[in-house]
């Protein structure tokens, strides 16, 4: 029998993995991949709560769909920013992108 707590524990571990990637990676693209993992962890929570806490409604799945859409927006803008930074600074390592004016 899989309970709600099992899904929440899985989601917590995936969130921690994403957080570790965001904190320790130097590459801007790898940081965005960590953010995608964290958003996926949140989506697991939303869908799991939908099934176990409010099965009569689909609001949790609606939330998850909106989060997926906004994650696509975030990926598009974030990767465009990485490309723009690479074009002008010739690096995508976030610890080397430290100029305030160009």
């Amino acid at each position: 029998m899989v309970t709600l707590a099992d899904y929440l524990v899985l989601s917590a571990v995936v969130f921690a993995l994403g957080l570790y990637a965001v904190v320790t990676r130097r590459n801007g693209v790898a940081i965005l991949m960590g953010i995608e993992l964290m958003l996926n962890a949140a989506n697991i929570n939303l869908v799991a709560f939908n099934k176990y806490a409010a099965p009569g409604a689909v609001q949790g799945q609606i939330f998850a769909l909106i989060v997926i859409t906004l994650a696509a927006c975030e990926a598009a803008v974030g990767l465009a920013l990485v490309l723009a930074a690479y074009r002008s600074l010739e690096t995508i390592h976030v610890d080397e992108i430290n100029v305030m004016r160009w």
Partner: protein
């Protein structure tokens, strides 16, 4: 052990192993490709939870579009992704301890809480219910999301465009 439990633990193992490759691999292309099994495992979790429509969207947008987008950007920014490049900063131990602390905190909170069960059952066919909800109760959120999507895509094109 029921079939549901076997499926859950199998999918969780797939997600965690590929997640470890995503955060730990020194080769950024391996990280990006390992995103695909992680997202597909999460798709399986959605199917276990009775969310078929969210599972389909997850495959289309995450496993399909976002992974390809990430791979394209890695290809276009070769200078930052070569194998010679140091991929991690010097915050490894601090980052690991923060991540482990947050995971332990969340897991302790989750397992020590008594979660109530809601009444009712999931609709047998969730895409219909989701569509009616998006064009009824959640119409404002739906339209707002569309505007955000449009604005962010135009913004992405303008940011990524070459300057004259």
């Amino acid at each position: 052990m029921t079939g549901e439990a076997i499926a859950f633990y199998g999918l969780a193992a797939v997600i965690l192993v590929s997640g470890l490759v995503v955060v730990g691999s020194p080769n950024i292309v391996h990280s990006a490709v390992a995103l695909v099994p992680a997202f597909l495992g999460i798709t399986g979790i959605y199917i276990l939870l009775g969310a078929e429509f969210v599972a389909g969207i997850q495959v289309l947008i995450y496993a399909g579009a976002i992974t390809v987008l990430v791979l394209f950007v890695i290809m276009l920014t070769e200078g930052g992704t070569g194998l010679r490049q140091q991929q991690r900063n010097e915050q490894g131990p601090i980052g690991a301890s923060v991540a482990v602390a947050i995971a332990v905190l969340l897991i302790a909170g989750v397992t020590h809480t008594t979660w109530g069960r809601g009444a009712g059952t999931l609709p047998a066919y969730t895409p219909g219910a989701i569509g009616r909800s998006f064009l009824g109760t959640n119409l404002l959120a739906f339209e707002g999301t569309s505007i955000v999507l449009l604005v962010s895509l135009i913004g992405a094109i303008i940011i990524a465009r070459k300057e004259e």
